[in-house]
């Protein structure tokens, strides 16, 4: 295992506030499709620091979602070391992993993923259900979380009674209700129009700035990516560029820079 090799380089397995929230060292993920093996990630090292704001960009099929699933403990790497909240994911069993993602991670999906028959309150309270929180407390926290995303007037609405932007804000409220340290958003504005997309981005930025929640988001939108302090470019299962690893002053990945890079790569 590579765990032994990297042990020396990572002395930071401390509690909250210290060390990286997520640390991936040379992780790979391959899918065995009955014969053909798809290497979705081919050795990615990636550190998410406390309270940081990072945008992942890259062409479709480059492995962005696979990386997000690994960072969010929805999946285990095929090889490499992945530490979330200081714990080695490969050493956890199913229940511990579930508990870890429940406490450390908030997930926002492109297609909202709300339970269609449940109210906004019940949808938002769901992560707390698996933490064993009492019903009354769940409702209180869910309501507070919904108010925080500006949906205090939509508590008992069901998903089909809300606009896409509102649904995605419910999903953000749900991701936040358990006070996670990291919020992972896989193309959160992909299904939204410009105005709703901007509103969702504003909320995410505000959360990051005011509550110190680390935000990692995948986006196709250059403007969205450009507003992030850190940009990570993924291509063919590898990190092609990560502004966090570059000396300060290096130009960020902007629309023009991306086009230039794409032309060079082509």
């Amino acid at each position: 295992m590579t765990a032994a090799d990297t042990e020396g380089s990572t002395g930071t397995t401390g509690g909250p506030g210290r060390g990286p929230a997520i640390e991936a060292v040379d992780v790979t993920r391959s899918y065995d499709l009955g014969g053909t093996v798809v290497d979705a990630l081919q050795g990615v090292s990636f550190v998410v620091a406390e309270g940081e704001y990072a945008a992942i960009v890259g062409p479709s099929g480059s492995g962005k979602s696979t990386l997000m699933h690994l960072l969010g403990c929805l999946d285990r790497p095929s090889s490499g070391v992945l530490r979330v909240g200081g714990r080695d994911v490969l050493e956890l069993d199913d229940a511990e992993l579930a508990d870890l993602r429940n406490r450390e991670i908030g997930f926002v999906f492109q297609s909202f993923q709300l339970l269609p028959r449940s109210t906004a309150l019940d949808n938002v309270g769901l992560p707390l259900l698996y933490r064993g929180t009492r019903r009354s407390e769940r409702r209180e926290l869910a309501e507070a979380s919904l108010r925080a995303v500006g949906l205090g007037h939509r508590l008992t609405h069901r998903p089909n009674q809300m606009s896409g932007g509102e649904q995605q804000r419910v999903a953000i409220a749900r991701a936040l209700v358990g006070s996670p340290r990291i919020l992972l958003a896989d193309e959160p504005t992909g299904n939204l129009d410009t105005r709703n997309g901007a509103e969702v981005m504003r909320i995410l930025e505000e959360l990051n700035a005011e509550q110190g929640v680390a935000v990692v988001l995948v986006t196709h939108d250059d403007e969205v990516a450009g507003r992030a302090r850190r940009q990570v470019r993924v291509r063919d299962g590898l990190v092609e560029r990560d502004t966090a690893l570059e000396p300060p002053g290096t130009p960020r990945v902007t629309a023009t820079a991306r086009h230039a890079a794409a032309e060079q790569g082509a």
């Binding site: 929805l74 999946d75 993602r101 297609s111 993923q113 769901l126 259900l129 698996y130 749900r174």
Partner: protein, 398 residues
Amino acid sequence: MKGLEAFRVAFDALRGNRLRSLLTMLGIIIGIAAVIVVVSIGAGAREQIESQVEGLGSNLVLVVPGQLDTANPGQGAAAASPMQLSDAAVLGAVVGDDGAVTARVSSAAQVRAGSREGYVTVQGSDQNLPYVFTRPVDQGEFFTQGDVETRQRVAVLGSATSANLFAGADPVGRQITLAGTRFRVVGVLAEQGESFGVSQDNEVHIPITTAQRLFGIDRVDAFAVKAPSAADVPALSRGLRQALREEYPDQEFSAVTQTQILGVIGDILGLLTAVLAAIAGISLLVGGVGVSNIMLVSVRERTKEIGLRKALGARQRDVLTQFLVEAVLLTSVGGVIGIVVGVGGSLLVNSLSPLPAKVEWWSPVVAFVVSAAVGIFFGVFPARRAGRLDPVVALRTD
């Protein structure tokens, strides 16, 4: 996730798909209701027959030819009877009272009075029958020892036969034709009642000597002996068999008592009820398979939901519990409805059909436990499948 929460989530899921939940429950409802009705009818039948047998009196002994094996009823019972009328005296000597023994042959024949006719059980009996079987005479009188000895063509009617042939008019002194022979009615017996909707009073008693000539036989089918008390029955049974064996050295005889008959009837009815309940139970099994099937469909349909729940922190065990509770809720609610339908059905059968039915207190309890167990048994497989779903794959499903 705590137990109550699991129930709430499961209940919401089932309510969200009302029609399907109801149809799935239907299999369980039918199965449980069928088992309860069958068991109730079995219990009712047993009770009714037992009360009739008990009506014979606990000190009655029936002497019949052959080795009657009460453990295997139906075997060896049909031995040809060597017994003669004269054996009544032998048996009377054993019990110490000639009046406590009555001989019997039974047959069936067409009976007619004027323009009315019917088919009746013909009992060839003697003057001791009213005392031995405790059958009071309602009108007129029973025939006498003299009538038996001189083969008189006299008849005593069962109350139902009397009503059929004479429609309420007094039949004493009137004529009837039995198997082509004319008889004079001398009395009517008091009513015995019904058994399974069939009257026990559709019978004609005639002197056994007359009956033997009428049917061209000279045997006696059975002797009934009344013991002085129930406590004397075992010793008397042995004495009666012993006496007859001395009379007919190479023959076997049986002395059948009420206790034995009750035991045999209990065994037969118990077996019958068990077989019928097992057949009804198959429909419960089919209902269980239906639950399993629907739960599998449900797991497939809700793949995304399962993936989402896992992404939000649900453990394998939480998802498994959720689907298992759903299955158990489905079958136990179906079970409760089935119990209501089954108990109601049993009461209806009892009051509207000739079959007796008696709801045993334990049958709803057992039914509920069984339906919940069916839910666990048939829910485990789909629930495990749900619990093992990979959240990433599940979320990708569209």
